[in-house]
Point group: C2
Chain length 182, copies 2
């Protein structure tokens, strides 16, 4: 299972020219699940637009500890079609709650993520700051509650978590545990 490779990219409005859409066209929902390293500048640039005064970002990074145990590696796994579908639902919910939101970008990394690197980056732009600040919090909270992406923690001095850690029930039973404790 550890050698499986995931790479999927989806843009909700991929047929639009990015530059036209960003300034003159409709709002963009940009969703990507990838094994590549994530870039904060890429996410930030993708939601930039000339009519917006605010971009709010959240970066979930891989911690070196969990419940007092030293984590040496994390690995993320997803049921990709359902994860994308749930992420699109979150975008729709955000637009219903904060209609002034301009662009939404959610990049989630899969596979092995080294310590301190980003597992998820969310960027949201809006004309005024309160909307994007609130929407980013809603986005990461909802992502963790609803999107089928899980993590496996590998500890320094124990058996790998997918065998022993109580949060990784999914590896044995397929049940959906929450994917990360940021």
């Amino acid at each position: 299972m550890r050698s499986r490779s995931y790479h999927h990219s989806a843009e909700a409005r991929g047929s639009l020219s990015m530059d036209m859409a960003k300034d003159g066209g409709g709002p963009l929902d940009l969703i990507k699940l990838t094994t590549d390293k994530l870039s904060t500048d890429t996410v930030s640039d993708s939601v930039k637009c000339s009519s917006c005064g605010a971009i709010s970002l959240f970066i979930g990074t891989t911690r070196d500890n969990f419940e007092g145990k030293r984590v040496v590696q994390l690995e993320y796994e997803a049921y990709v079609p359902m994860a994308e579908s749930e992420l699109k639902k979150i975008c729709t919910e955000i637009r219903a709650r904060w209609p002034s939101i301009r662009h939404i970008c959610i990049h989630h990394r899969l596979g092995v993520v080294p310590i301190t690197e980003a597992s998820v980056i969310i960027g949201i732009s809006s004309p005024h700051r309160s909307d994007s600040l609130e929407a980013v919090k809603y986005c990461i909270d909802t992502l963790k509650a609803t999107v089928p992406i899980w993590k496996k923690e590998i500890y320094e001095s124990e058996e790998p978590c997918w065998k022993e850690n109580k949060e990784c029930l999914w590896t044995g039973s397929g049940a959906g545990a929450k994917h990360a404790d940021l």
Copy 2:
């Protein structure tokens, strides 16, 4: 006045080695006022640490409109010593409210800021996400309410704002108007 150049940099714990301080040392308060272009990756990297699972960022960008008028250029001006002092106060307040916060970085640009470029970038790291998300919102809200940094908007079809716009009282009277309407 428009040709004045500002460049100031201050790091609250500049004597510490950045790498040591980021992971093994105390928390960092990194404050910079500069005429240079701001970088999201620089701010993000400066607050990264291996014990944190969350980095929250806010980017204030220059909008092309204000109250229906087309803005062609913005310029920021600060009373630098007082601005730095107020920014340090905000860091202290954040640490009192959210003791688990690890690093805080606030970069504010001065001088001319082209449309869509960042005028301010705030980055805050914490072990868990709620602290940094709340602290970033508090930081930008408080910055706008207390820090003596002002903006001058220059419109496409009107006299420059520092002569006519009601928000720019400071250019005539020295009174402190709020610096930006993000």
